[in-house]
Assembly symmetry: C2
Homo-oligomer: 211 residues x 2
Amino acid sequence: MHIENYPSKLLESAISEFAGLPGIGRKTALRLVLHLLKHDLADVEKFSSAIIALKREIKYCSSCHNISDSKMCNICSDDKRDHSIICVVENIRDVMSIENTHQYSGIYHVLGGIISPMDGIGPGDLNISSLEEKVARGNVKEIILALSTTMEGDTTNFYIYRKLHKHPVIISTIARGVSIGDELEYADEVTLGRSIVNRTLFETSINSGKK
Amino acid sequence: MHIENYPSKLLESAISEFAGLPGIGRKTALRLVLHLLKHDLADVEKFSSAIIALKREIKYCSSCHNISDSKMCNICSDDKRDHSIICVVENIRDVMSIENTHQYSGIYHVLGGIISPMDGIGPGDLNISSLEEKVARGNVKEIILALSTTMEGDTTNFYIYRKLHKHPVIISTIARGVSIGDELEYADEVTLGRSIVNRTLFETSINSGKK
């Protein structure tokens, strides 16, 4: 249904702001705005100021560029983590996803995007030079590339590989294969092919399952 | 995926605010907040102030209780509309939906909810007394009840009917039946049954289609 006539300009501008968010159409925006309207002014002010405070006061970790409340994020300032292994990810959502697996004890490096000429994003727009500096300083044993398997992800992987491979550091990528629980017949050919080429020793898979 | 550890308290509180909106989970909230973070501070302030302005300055039409920028909404202040027919709806979304059909030229009365003892909403919480006053003043020929066909909607319909039937006014409800374009075999029994009981003259249906 197309909504043409809003009964109020104030309503319309609030809806337009919400409809500018990804995945929110004008009908959903209307529902969200009407929901907010039902609340007290104090609640709406709380909503509004949480966003402003985030934008004004948010910091990025000076080491890994993850979102942080202080100059150094919780992960980078944690001595128990292995600072010699760095997992390179596109954004902070990927950091959270990997943290939730509880399988990784190294640190991260957030690129802040991937190389995408179509969107006008070049290597200079990403946090790649700081990664190279970190590796050049030594003490880094392994770089794990954990970017999307898209053309942009592959381009970025290759760009980083070319920048880093002159340093004495292992460069690995996360394993690609058939998802756990998925049936083989439903896996796409590329993934299935990759899972055969990059097969692991059965013992390894048992051990990683036990972790 | 359950997200446990947010890298920042500011991020977490902004996410919590968004996740309080209907139909928005914490993962979607994270995506929306990160989207806002990518924008300039000015854009985020615009977003934030649009909501605050709406909440602070919004008015409700003194006659029909629809959202409005002024004391009387556009519909109630329109002389070309038939002020003797009042369509009773639950909320302002219903007004917009009916307006979009371009089939109705009367005015509205927004109840602001429906009677729902489970949610603690009684007749006193709704704009029912102002509807009765409007009818008592005369000049109203017909009241069209356009509430949901739920138990709450039926209860509210019946409550309004009891309040108004002593006045010389026609009380009607919108037609219920098989949706246009739907095949009979997929319609539920209650709807199909109702559509047979409340069948209309073939001539009437031709004319309403021509409107």
